[in-house]
């Protein structure tokens, strides 16, 4: 603990101000109040096990399903669908997929050409492990974009007027 007398006071003050400007301030500002990374801890309802899910992330077209890695096309799965990857080939380029029903018994209204088979790994995005098909594939995809809209609304009240004033025609 430093002991200060009045004649030392000024020097110390200078030193202290320097220290606060250079040495400590950044540390203090970025001081992390570390919290454990959040997790959803939920058990699966009876009869269901956690399985990995992945989403089809092709640009536009549905993803081709093949009989074997790089084999003949036997079906397709639409963009945005969540599937269960069950096996990866040695090259890691091909993934065998299944539906969340663990079997194919025909009649997915939104994916009529779905078959169990192999797809190119680069068009799948891992979603994590879930008890059942993630209820809302769109929700996961859209989350960031949605919140971004609301954030921009809050920030730009005056800018709204500035921006709209230059709209000359809706054509």
């Amino acid at each position: 603990m430093p002991w200060l007398t009045s004649w030392k006071h000024r020097c110390f003050l200078l030193l202290a101000v320097l220290l606060s400007g250079v040495g400590l301030a950044p540390r203090a500002q970025s001081a992390p109040l570390v919290e454990a990374s959040p997790r959803v801890a939920q058990s699966c309802p009876d009869g269901l096990k956690r399985r990995p899910f992945a989403r089809v992330v092709t640009q536009a077209d549905p993803l081709s399903i093949r009989s074997q890695p790089n084999g003949r096309v036997i079906g397709t799965v639409p963009k945005g669908w969540a599937v269960v990857p069950v096996q990866t080939d040695a090259s890691k380029q091909w993934v065998k997929i299944n539906s969340h029903f663990d079997r194919y018994d025909g009649g997915f209204a939104s994916a009529p050409n779905f078959r169990i088979g192999w797809v190119a790994a680069r068009y799948l995005k891992r979603l994590g492990n879930f008890c059942d098909k993630p209820e809302n594939p769109m929700g996961l995809l859209h989350w960031h974009r949605f919140s971004q809209y609301s954030a921009s609304l809050q920030a730009n009240w005056l800018q709204m007027g500035d921006r709209w004033a230059v709209l000359r025609s809706s054509r």
């Binding site: 603990m1 430093p2 002991w3 200060l4 007398t5 009045s6 006071h9 110390f12 003050l13 202290a16 101000v17 220290l19 606060s20 400590l24 540390r27 203090a28 001081a31 992390p32 109040l33 570390v34 919290e35 454990a36 959040p38 997790r39 959803v40 801890a41 939920q42 058990s43 309802p45 209820e135 809302n136 769109m138 929700g139 996961l140 859209h142 989350w143 974009r145 949605f146 919140s147 809209y149 609301s150 921009s152 609304l153 809050q154 920030a155 730009n156 009240w157 005056l158 800018q159 709204m160 007027g161 500035d162 709209w164 004033a165 230059v166 709209l167 000359r168 025609s169 809706s170 054509r171």
Partner: protein, 739 residues
């Protein structure tokens, strides 16, 4: 448990069982019994026993996927954000009744300190939004402009101050020794309040210091009592338990996101004996969060358990613990130029933290800030800037015009970028400039006279809730008539301002006001709106919609809300196509009646004309507007026009009480937004409706996303964020840097 509480709890548990995030927990505890036939989960007969063994829900779990905890969106009227470090906050929703109950309880506690409806609470330099209509928030750097404004606000008693204790102490340190008008009370909230802070605040403001605790999303809050100074918990809004020192609550009111056996993270110590003051509520000490533990010779202790005393010659201080053996003290000495003794502090440090190496940082009192130098420009340049240019640029850096217009510019500045956030935009600063503008003589230059007139119309809109607004409007109109007699210029957008200003003023006189303007020939205007017009519209819509919400006669309420989002969205599509007929239409949207007999004035754009005709049909006869729809939708050529047609189709669905199928609407809206064909604001009513349907379809997380996106824009919250972002954060005065 009281039978009334039990009934409320039963109701809220049944409601919470709808939320998928609660289901596993509820099932595992036997709180609900699955009914495979109906797919429902009714409460078990012995639910009180099951409730007691229900696993705890942590804030982290809710934060990870908040949508899973949404039970429904009906009556959703409140959006709250928990404080937390960047990215660690939780946005939660609640209903109208929950919010009313919260405010009623708050009023009861405030009453105990003599703070009734007549006392305005000024939130100072802290991220705290005004609680009640009469309250305000003063934000920004703790520097002369903020301090002077605070003193000015305090000079209109009765006033109470509220804020984070760390920020209030900074303010107090700067005000020490200055004459301060009387203050009813100083309310500290958001951080632990320490003894030295209490003493400094009591000394500077000569008022009692109140400690307020609140963890809003869990339904718990509390206030210290004036008699014994103990923190009383409000146990009427929730069932609370203390498990391993942690506060665990079940909110009894929130039906939108019911939090059941929820642990917000605060450790508390309940007092064993009732308080001497006689209030029945339990009292407790809030210790802080587990992660904030401080090393002491007795082991890790929470900040709330430690005593931080006041020291002679030191106004306030901060303790930063680098690890168990190193401390830094940041000390703010008072201004007296006398030797500073650290003896007492050294003794306290050793007793509290043991033998540790200490570094002391003495904070110099800040230099007096030189008065800011006004940059002045030619009035023509300023007028051109705010009519043809950009307000954001002007307000960030721009100069003020020389001469008479200076006070006009200052009035605009004070209205649109206040440092005092209030619900009604009125403040002493605004009034001061307004009085000066109202006494400006008629100008010989039509250009200068016009901008004075427009500013007065603008002010009458923004201050429409004030009794003086009509007088401002009348003066502006008189000056406009005189100018019009001189120039006969019908093409100037100033004429539009005269009509726009009627939107927010009391509505009974609107038809008469329009008639008066039209009789003068001002209805013939061919004016093209400029930046000023559009800013005026945006600022007039807000109070106009407040009026509409109060009287509830808008054809869009309650099916197509928020109405403000519809109006702002129209503006985002129209831009400079706004004309008198649209202003008349917006009045009709809000009030259900047209201000003029034949509002079908044709504009310059055929699509906008058809759109307006469709709209008029839509709000007058939503059931029979097929023909207008055909004519309108067939006009759409460009992608923007087609996107507008999509929006209108959505509004029509809402007015006809037809739900929007999410599978069809979400992808369409998403792609229109992504391509920036529509403004995000215009989609808010559709998001609200979609959220309701998505809940019915068990799509809770997506419903939550929709609620997030449907937030109503507000100039006050935009300004609040802008000011509070860089400054005014919480600052722990007892901080463990080691984590």
């Amino acid at each position: 448990m009281h039978s009334l509480t039990a009934a409320k709890l039963q109701r809220i548990l049944a409601r919470a069982a709808i939320a998928p995030g609660n289901r596993d927990r509820f099932l595992s505890a036997g709180l609900v019994i699955p009914q495979p036939a109906t797919g429902q989960f009714p409460l078990a007969a012995d639910w009180p026993t099951a409730f007691a063994r229900l696993p705890i829900l942590t804030q982290e779990t809710v934060r990870t996927n908040p949508g899973l905890f949404l039970a429904g969106v009906e009556h959703c009227a409140y959006r709250g954000v928990t404080s937390g470090s960047q990215g660690n906050h939780l946005i939660y929703f609640a209903d109208t009744l929950w919010n009313q109950t919260r405010l009623t309880q708050l009023a009861a506690f405030l009453q105990g300190w003599g703070i009734d409806d007549r006392v305005a609470i000024v939130n100072v330099a802290s991220r705290l939004f005004p609680l009640r209509p009469q309250d305000t928030t003063l934000l920004g750097a703790i520097a002369p402009p903020l301090l002077e404004t605070l003193l000015m606000q305090l000079s209109y008693p009765p006033v109470a101050i509220r804020g984070y204790p760390s920020r209030l102490c900074e303010v107090a340190a700067r005000l020490l020794g200055k004459p301060i008008p009387p203050v009813v009370a100083v309310i500290c909230t958001g951080e632990s309040l320490f003894e030295f802070q209490k003493q400094l605040l009591e000394q500077v403001f000569a008022a009692p210091v109140v400690n307020e605790y609140g963890c809003q999303e869990s339904g718990i809050s509390g206030f210290t009592c004036p008699e014994a100074g103990r923190l009383h918990l409000d146990d009427t809004r929730c069932v609370y338990e203390v498990i391993d020192g942690q506060l665990v609550t079940t909110d009894l009111w929130n039906v939108v996101m019911p939090m059941v056996r929820y642990q917000c993270g605060d450790m508390v110590q309940l007092d064993a004996h009732p308080c001497d003051c006689g209030r029945p509520q339990p009292t407790a000490k809030i210790l802080g969060r587990q992660v904030d533990g401080i090393y002491t010779p007795q082991g890790r202790q929470l900040p709330g358990a430690l005593m931080l005393p006041a020291f002679e010659g030191i106004l306030h201080y901060q303790v930063m613990q680098e690890d168990a053996h190193h401390l830094t003290l940041r000390v703010y000495p008072d201004a007296h130029d006398r030797p500073l003794s650290f003896d007492a502090m050294a003794t306290w440090v050793t007793a509290t933290f043991g033998e540790v190496a200490v570094q002391v940082l003495l904070e110099q009192s800040p230099d007096p800030v030189p008065a800011s130098v006004l940059t002045v420009c030619n009035p023509d340049v300023w007028i051109h800037g705010i009519t043809q240019g950009n307000w954001t640029e002007w307000l960030q850096s721009g100069p003020l015009p020389a001469g008479e217009l200076q006070v006009v510019a200052q009035l605009l500045q004070a209205i649109v970028t206040p440092i005092v956030i209030s619900y009604d935009k009125n403040s002493m600063v605004v009034q001061q400039y307004l009085q000066a503008v109202l006494t400006l003589p008629i100008q010989t230059s039509p250009m200068i006279e016009r901008i004075i007139i427009r500013t007065l119309f603008f002010a009458s809109s923004c201050l429409a809730q004030q009794p003086g607004a009509i007088a401002i409007y009348q003066q502006a109109r008189e000056r406009l008539y005189q100018l019009f007699e001189k120039t006969s210029d019908c093409s100037h957008p100033a004429i539009l301002d005269a009509f726009i200003a009627t939107l927010a003023l009391p509505w009974d006189d609107v038809p008469t006001r329009w008639q008066a303007l039209l009789q003068r020939g001002l209805g013939q205007t061919s004016a093209i709106p400029d930046t000023f017009t559009l800013q005026h519209l945006i600022h007039a819509f807000e109070p106009a919609v407040q009026r509409a919400n109060a009287v509830k006669i808008s054809p869009l309420v309650p099916s197509c809300t928020p109405v403000l989002a519809v109006l702002l969205g129209d503006l985002a599509t129209l831009g400079q196509q706004v004309n008198l007929a649209w202003v008349a239409h917006w009045f009709e949207v809000l009030s259900g009646r047209s201000p003029m007999a034949d509002p079908c004035v044709l504009g310059q754009d055929a699509f906008c004309d058809r759109w307006l005709q469709w709209r008029q049909h839509l709000i007058r006869q939503p059931q029979t507007c097929d023909q207008a729809w055909q004519q309108f939708s067939q006009m759409a050529r460009s992608p923007q026009q087609q996107a507008r047609v999509l929006l209108e189709q959505g509004y029509h669905h809402l007015l006809a009480a037809q739900p929007l199928p999410p599978a069809i609407w979400l992808p369409q809206l998403e792609s229109a937004l992504q391509a920036q064909l529509i403004s995000p604001v215009s989609v808010a009513p559709l998001w609200r409706s979609l959220a309701q349907t998505l809940i019915e379809q068990q799509q809770h997380p997506l419903a939550y996303d929709c609620l997030l996106a449907s937030v109503v824009p507000s100039s006050a919250s935009a300004r609040f964020e802008q000011l509070a972002h860089p400054e005014n954060r919480k600052q722990a005065v007892l901080l463990n840097l080691d984590g």
